[in-house]
């Protein structure tokens, strides 16, 4: 649904990874303009992926973390490891699109 919404907003091509392992493999071979990740995923969590992007790949790609877990600790941890934004589920697709545009500075 997110991919569909972002495509509809003409924000470019959207690549989807089914789990943390696939995400890591994709990140090793491709450079993206923006990453949207959930926290809880099979193999690697969203926080691990964020840490991987910042510390190992040394990329400054904007990262939005999307999670049902809106605890203060989780949010702070996401920002500490390098996320640019945090959206708690349930979320509005329209709001997500606006945040993505803002981050990509296409508004």
């Amino acid at each position: 649904m997110i991919r569909f919404k972002l495509s509809k907003e003409n924000l470019g091509d959207v690549t989807k990874a089914l789990d943390g392992r696939e995400a890591k493999n994709l990140l090793k071979t491709e450079d993206f303009d923006l990453i949207i990740t959930d926290i809880h995923m099979p193999y690697h969590s969203g926080l691990e992926i964020t840490t991987f992007i910042r510390n190992e790949l040394k990329r400054s790609t904007p990262i939005i973390v999307l999670s049902a877990e809106g605890l203060e600790d989780t949010v702070l941890q996401a920002f500490e490891v390098g996320a640019n934004d945090f959206i708690t589920k349930p979320f509005s697709p329209a709001e997500l699109a606006v945040r993505v545009k803002r981050i990509l500075k296409k508004v």
Binding site: M1, F4, K5, K8, A68, K89, P90, F91, S92, P93, A94, E95
Partner: protein, 368 residues
């Protein structure tokens, strides 16, 4: 064949039986493998069909959500709905897949997207399948139906859900109660009036969690149920009055200090303390006499007096420094400290080592 029959005839009877048995077992085993294989193939086919249906439905739902119903022409919406109808047709199995997808999406989204999902549920009359489940034999089907109707805010289903509040099945009771909380527009707790079951801790936590989402002004006055014959309802109402700080319920809470149940009395005392009703400090202090044989109630009273009592209660409490129950002695020390006495003053003529140990525990700076 001649050779085979010659060999067969040369065999003794037991050997023939063994061979026949072995052959029969082999045939059975082979047949079993074939049956398992066929069943698994059918299962795999069904799973693939389910995945395909789910994928088709998801694509159409995504377009509905993303295009936003409010901004789309009605012809576009009607077209998408017709596509969904074409997929599900009259199949309850496919309708169930659609319902599951709608609910899964609804849990993750807010705003106009949710309105779109509810619209699909109503316009396609998917609630009929959920209502149908309420009449199924299996309790888990009924529970699923209740949950779907609650999740999709289908208020007309309320009269059919209400009877399950007093079901023998605990899970059904809990689902029905939670559904009433979601669906009831006026007082969502009216079911308590005639509730006969046990309000478990799980139910209490969930009810509390859902009540917290309501506008505080719409919360009922929980003292309404203080006189209920079901003790768990009284306990629940009392704990909610405490949680939501309903100070206007205090006069009724005080009446509960005479309740037949020790648990209710204890919770009433605790509630008076938590609500900081110091005007009732003397009232609860009297319980130290009337319930002198009940260490649990004494502990609660002493704890409460530590918060709402005054120096005039010190003498009443200090008599419990020599109580046989360790908890009573501990709480007595703590409350006396809260009421302004130092440990030296408390331990004045007390030589008991355990009291000194309690004082040391309470004054441990690492624990403060």
């Amino acid at each position: 064949m001649d050779f085979a029959s010659h060999v067969w005839e040369s065999l003794a009877s037991p050997e023939r039986i063994l061979i026949i048995l072995a052959f029969a077992l082999l045939t059975l085993g082979f047949g079993f493998i074939v049956v398992v294989f066929l069943l698994r193939s059918r299962q795999a086919r069904d799973d693939a069909r389910t995945m395909e249906t789910r994928s088709e439905i998801r694509k159409i739902l995504n377009t509905l959500l993303v295009d936003e119903v409010s901004h789309s022409p009605s012809s576009a919406i009607a077209f998408k709905l017709s596509l969904l109808r074409k997929i599900v047709r009259k199949s309850d199995f496919k309708k169930q897949i659609l319902i599951d997808q709608i609910i899964e999406l609804k849990k993750n989204l807010t705003g106009s997207s949710v309105a779109s999902l509810v619209m699909v549920f109503n316009v396609m009359k998917l609630y009929k399948l959920s209502l149908k489940k309420l009449g199924y034999t299996a309790w888990h089907d009924k529970a699923k139906g209740i949950r779907e109707l609650a999740e999709m805010q289908h208020r007309p289903g309320l009269p059919l859900i209400s009877p399950f509040v007093n079901s023998n099945n605990q899970i059904l009771r809990e689902e029905a109660i939670l559904a009433l909380l979601h669906l009831s527009e006026t007082n969502p707790l009216t079911f308590l009036d005639s509730y006969e079951g046990n309000i478990t801790l799980w139910m209490r936590l969930n009810l509390h969690r859902n009540l917290q989402k309501l506008d505080v002004r719409k919360l009922p006055n929980f003292s309404h149920w203080f006189g209920h014959k079901n003790e768990t309802v009284v306990l629940f109402s009392l704990s909610m009055a405490r949680a939501f700080r309903q100070l206007n319920a205090l006069p009724e809470i005080v009446k509960l200090l005479n309740h037949r149940s020790e648990r209710v009395v204890g919770l009433a005392v605790e509630t008076i303390g938590v609500l900081e009703a110091d005007e009732y400090a003397d009232t609860i202090a009297n319980l130290l006499v009337t319930h002198s044989n009940n260490p649990k109630i004494i502990t609660r009273v002493i704890q409460a007096l530590g918060g709402i009592g005054s120096s005039q209660h010190q003498d009443k409490i200090s008599g419990f420094l020599r109580h046989e129950s360790y908890n009573v002695r501990f709480e007595t020390m703590r409350s006396l400290q809260k009421l302004g006495l130092s440990f030296d003053e408390i331990l004045n003529d007390q030589e008991a080592n355990d009291l000194k140990q309690i004082a040391k525990h309470l004054s441990e700076p690492l624990l403060s």
